[in-house]
């Protein structure tokens, strides 16, 4: 029943499984002072992963294991972005981890398993693979948040993340069981077919509510956002960077697979639920972010508001809407890596650079880092002509085309409110004096970190000119 073709379709995932096990064992056999080897091996593994994902991509959608695994264009885009974000995290995390005695091999193997989970999740064609992919992604993430065992804040964040994450996966599982009960199949296409002709629409709708709640948890959308700020604040900064970028991409895949591929006939129901969550996320995220003094918490609330924007795209169930949401998530992930990258570059032994006040007068101390942070903030705020602006325009257009003008108006008002806290960071960096006794920058941040961060930041600027091809890529993914 299982043919070679099934395995060929899954080459990137099989490769990453083998590579993660290899890194896990490789690290056991080297000394602590040779850990750099693990670091570079992990980065090479990820680069080869990108190659395999892109190179082996079939022209048409390919399935394996009887439709359990689907390899299509959307999965390709999400996988490539997730792998890129992970490479960025690896490079930027190394100095930070080393300074805090957290530079261990398990950081790499666990995060690889987590990435593997995301790759399986976005390629899932069956409720079981969706669920298992979600678990494989989440379980290492909980452990990574708790990586710094000395820190109480970190442990607290991990427990909150774990409990709420378990609750979310329990809800998703309950929803899935109801849907399975109503349709008698686990295959997403089968569910789509059965949902169109079902005699139990209420049961399906009920299951759908649980799925949407679970998806809301994954995105961190209001009212299921409680874990996000605490996890951002408590997690080690590189892990916060990972959690800010990768799960959001995974959640776009999750939402598309479950809602469109599986529950498509009920689009009228779930788009209203998504629209409500979008409006709440936009309002709560942007308003609460204003009150934050901690930079990581501020970024967490900013993430919540951005998830509102992603929902704006998803709430229009057409190829345009999905491609806008996908485009937004990709763009958001790469903006977050810059913001967190600057935090990581400025942090040093005994100093976290977590508060907004820590950035006071950054322009005098290091114009380049201040400039990169400014690019990230302007981009997140959606100032034209930066990338974030293009993404925002696309989702707003999708929402208006989908007949949700009110939501687009809410989004525009909220992003104007949001300008305040992004611009405050820039104000603090450029127009305030450094606090007394604040050292200048650490001698020289790690060369690889500086280099990649600069490329990442300049890439954000360059994307102004390359948005067209990326958008075309996203559109093609949904056949639009």
């Amino acid at each position: 029943m299982i043919t070679l073709n099934d395995l060929l379709v899954m080459v990137p995932e099989l490769y990453l499984t083998a590579a993660a096990c290899f890194v896990l064992l490789f690290d056991v056999f080297i000394n602590d002072d040779q850990r750099d080897a693990t670091h570079w091996v992990a980065i090479i593994v990820m680069l080869v992963g990108i190659f395999l994902v892109v190179h082996g991509q079939p022209d048409t959608t390919a399935t394996a294991f009887g439709g359990m695994f689907v390899r299509d264009r959307m999965a390709e885009i999400l996988k490539v972005t997730v792998l890129i974000a992970t490479i960025l995290m690896y490079v930027m995390a190394r100095p930070w981890l080393r300074d805090r005695q957290l530079f261990m091999g398990e950081f790499y193997s666990l995060s690889m398993f987590s990435v593997l989970g995301v790759m399986l999740l976005v390629s899932a064609g069956n409720l079981i693979t969706v669920y298992l992919g979600l678990e494989l992604f989440a379980l290492p993430a909980y452990a990574l948040v708790a990586l710094n065992r000395e820190s109480k804040l970190s442990s607290e964040a991990a427990i909150k993340f774990f409990v709420l994450g378990s609750l979310a996966s329990g809800l998703i599982l309950f929803g899935m069981s109801l849907i399975y009960g109503a349709t008698g199949t686990l295959d997403l296409h089968g569910i789509f077919a059965a949902a169109g002709t079902t005699t139990h629409p209420h049961l399906l709708q009920f299951g759908l509510v649980f799925l949407v709640v679970g998806i809301g948890f994954e995105f961190g959308a209001v009212p299921f956002h409680m874990w996000l700020p605490d996890v951002y604040e408590g997690a080690p900064t590189p892990i916060a960077m990972y959690i800010s970028a990768v799960p959001k991409l995974a959640a776009v895949g999750l939402a598309y697979r479950l809602l469109e591929v599986g529950m498509g006939p009920f689009a009228d129901d779930w788009r209203i639920m998504l629209a409500i969550m979008a409006a709440l996320s936009l309002v709560v995220g942007n308003v609460v972010a204003i009150a934050q003094k901690n930079l990581k918490r501020m970024l967490a609330y900013s993430t919540i508001s951005h998830m509102g924007f992603v929902f704006l795209g998803l709430a229009n169930p057409t190829p345009e809407g999905y491609s806008a949401a996908l485009f937004y998530a990709v763009c958001f992930a790469l903006m977050e890596t810059v913001a967190f990258g600057v935090i990581l570059a400025l942090a040093r032994k005994g100093f976290e650079c977590e508060m907004i006040d820590d950035l006071k007068g950054l322009n005098r101390r290091s114009p380049w880092f201040a400039g990169m942070m400014a690019i990230a903030m302007f981009s997140l705020a959606g100032i034209p002509p930066l990338w974030g602006f293009i993404a925002k325009v696309l989702v707003l257009k999708a929402a208006i085309d989908g007949g949700m003008l009110w939501l687009a108006i809410v989004a525009i008002i909220c992003s104007i409110i949001g300008l305040f806290y992004y611009l405050r960071v820039i104000w603090v960096m450029y127009f305030e004096q450094p606090a007394e006794g604040v050292e200048p920058l650490q001698a020289k941040p790690d060369l690889a970190l500086r280099g990649l961060l600069s490329i990442n930041a300049l890439g954000l600027v360059a994307m102004i000119f390359f948005s067209g091809p990326l958008l075309a890529w996203c559109r093609a993914a949904f056949g639009g």
Partner: protein, 212 residues
């Protein structure tokens, strides 16, 4: 007909026990009792599976969970010194709200789904195959991929548990025989040039000398 009635009675009995035991898990004061209640929950669930003619799953639940996992769990709970009182704080205070929310949700669920009209379609009937045979075939053909992913999740659980629980003792003293035998005189003894004699520093030194 009698058979069906008996089955229904058994189902209700085991279901009631399972739910009751599950309630006990979260409500009893003593953690050891909670674990024992969880064992009862698993056992009742196994009986329910037995009624549904899923013998292998029922046996696996008893052998693996009740037999191995829960015993281990019991050891862990008994070894942990948990202070029970602080965990109870606020329980009574939040209980009415919790019960209220649960009851409302239950009513909503029953109302929306409409329990009476519901006939859940059964899965494919494994005709002419024993339970284990059918399960094995399904797991290693249709569900091979999820089966392997589950294996990966278990691996991750193992690694994560070790990362979070293992504390390497940096202060432990141990010998390194390779380094010991590779040592040379130059690495051990340092020759220091000193003046042949020094002036006597003070009276204390003199006193020590005289005692010696």
């Amino acid at each position: 007909m009698n058979h069906a009635i008996l089955q229904m009675v058994c189902f209700i009995a085991f279901a009631v026990v399972a739910v009751g035991a599950a309630l006990a898990v979260v409500s009893v004061k003593n953690t050891v009792h909670a674990v024992l209640a969880l064992v009862l929950t698993f056992f009742s669930a196994a009986c329910l599976w037995m009624l549904a003619e899923a013998e292998f799953l029922a046996l696996a639940l008893v052998v693996v969970y009740v037999g191995a996992v829960m015993v281990l769990f019991l050891f862990v709970v008994m070894m942990l010194d948990i202070d029970l009182e602080p965990m109870r704080e606020g329980f009574i205070k939040y209980l009415p709200i919790g019960i209220g929310a649960a009851v409302i949700m239950l009513l909503e669920m029953l109302g929306i789904i409409g329990i009476k009209t519901l006939q859940v379609p059964a899965g494919p009937n494994p005709a002419g195959m024993s339970n284990i045979e059918w399960l094995g075939t399904a797991l290693f053909t249709h569900f091979l991929l999820p089966f392997e992913i589950a294996a990966l999740i278990l691996t991750v659980g193992l690694v994560a548990a070790v990362v979070l629980a293992l504390r390497v003792r940096t202060f432990s003293r141990r010998q390194n025989p390779a380094a010991q035998s590779a040592v040379r005189a130059a690495g051990r003894v340092r020759m220091v040039k000193m003046a042949a004699s020094t002036t006597a520093p003070g009276p204390t030194t003199v006193g020590e000398d005289s005692q010696a």
